[in-house]
Symmetry: C2
Subunit: 288 residues, 2 copies
């Protein structure tokens, strides 16, 4: 490793760095990640640099947002690779704490967001957003950033974090980063490495179907019919669909047809054992 | 009202005041209260002034820590009286937000501390500490104080707040304030005004019993026997005892006899409809 990008292991080091920057009048951004960095993450770092003078990227695979049957142990970890990638986008610090630094032995506190955290991923993964809200609370209180960047790839997570910030009065501005996609349309994700060659070819159809559905809805096509058609196409391609829904873009309540508020398409579907998620804004009907 | 002590109603005003003070290099303390201020509260403000240059006292009767059958509506409120009292101890600001400022219509987030929040008050008042942890989180994030003062009168609450701060990494130092008592020993409490003349005469026996128990335990007397005797005395005086226990002073797990770690006596008991709580450190056996 070269010595350019400092790696911070402890909260005290992180706070020390932040305090020094703040004393110099610098604005500070945090980009929370679970490592396995790809170009999607790097786009978030670049976005963070537009909103702040200093960018801290946290790399922490948070155990409390995985269920026992999920892929916590198998989750892709390669810290050195992550560190090199962060060097290329000129992050200012990588915060990579040990699990015991975040969750000491007698850790006993939990943060829960109701409402927007309950449908969709909240049903498929009941402990997920409580794990997210708790670790984000800790990271925010450790780093005290002015700005934090979250990708729209995890759209519901982005809304949960926004709600958390509003409800608990965090003095942090949340900046959403657009989804980055492979040339064939597949949303970038650390979990894409799990896809076998066959499924990797199929995977971009998730994007294709969402795109066509968004077009149909924007053209005024009936909602339930559009969803039914999308579902059939995904199943024909071999996806096992967890959900495919049209939701209010702000609070994720079910969309009401005819659409008159901004809505978002959200999908989760399995190819083999790999669970893919994706989402897309629907242009307002009449906007084209 | 005179114009000396500013009353802040909104989070933005609070943050503005704190920012200005911080820019001047001042250290800031928060003393969270539910109003109904008495000399016990004022002692906390004086203590806060020893730890900081500026002291903010919040006055907010937090609805989420009352159960439906509890005394939220009847809880003593007299803001002008509180304001005058705070003037006498030279607090720097009174933060008295409206309930909608703290809990907007769609508020949906909750902070829970397990472990130390579960026994004693946690059993009698199942929603109490979740309400406390959530509102304290919000007040800390609104004011971002360096120091916060909590009275030992609510000893379990003090431990819950300390745990909250450690678990979520709040950059706040918690300073405990000793219990203030009336000349006859009754612990000062906003709820003492509910006691009728007869019960007011009986109430100090709670203190007397705790004092004798602490003396007996410090003298090496057997624990269960000591508790049984204390219980009998309280009942003879007409108390309906909710709990009377000897607990580990740090984490409130049941004390183990013979006592070898610091322990605390904790009690909750009704006189008529009024629920009194009190607690006391037990001097270590052999310390006298």
């Amino acid at each position: 490793m070269n010595t350019k990008l400092p790696v911070l292991r402890h909260t005290v080091e992180l706070r020390h760095a932040v305090q020094q920057w703040r004393r110099q009048g610098q604005k500070i951004a945090l980009v929370p990640t679970m490592g396995g960095l790809h170009d999607g993450h790097l786009s978030l770092v670049r976005l963070a640099k537009q909103h702040a003078n200093r960018v801290i990227v946290s790399v922490f695979v948070n155990p409390t947002q995985f269920a026992p049957h999920e892929d916590f142990d198998a989750y892709p970890r390669n810290e050195e690779r992550d560190w090199h990638k962060l060097g290329t986008v000129e992050a200012d610090a990588m915060y990579a704490p040990d699990v015991h630094e975040i969750y000491p032995r007698d850790f006993a506190t939990r943060v829960d967001v109701a409402g927007v955290a309950q449908p969709l991923e909240g049903i498929s993964r009941p402990h997920f957003f409580s794990g997210v809200a708790t670790v984000v609370t800790k990271l925010f209180l450790q780093a005290l950033p002015d700005v934090a960047v979250f990708g729209e790839k995890d759209y519901q997570q982005l809304l949960v974090v926004k709600k958390l910030v509003r409800d608990l009065n965090f003095p942090v501005t949340i900046v959403p980063g657009p989804i980055m996609r492979e040339p064939d349309g597949l949303a970038m994700s650390s979990r894409n490495v799990y896809l076998d060659a066959q499924d990797r070819v199929t995977a971009p159809h998730l994007y294709g179907v969402l795109q066509d559905m968004a077009g149909d809805l924007a053209a005024g096509r009936e909602m339930d019919e559009t969803v039914k058609k999308g579902l059939a196409r995904l199943e024909k391609h071999g996806f096992r669909v967890d959900y495919l829904e049209v939701r209010d873009a702000e609070n994720l309540t079910p969309a009401v047809y005819p659409l008159w508020k901004p809505v978002r398409l959200l999908a989760a579907a399995y190819l083999g054992k790999v669970r893919l998620i994706d989402n897309m804004a629907v242009p307002s009907p009449g906007a084209h």
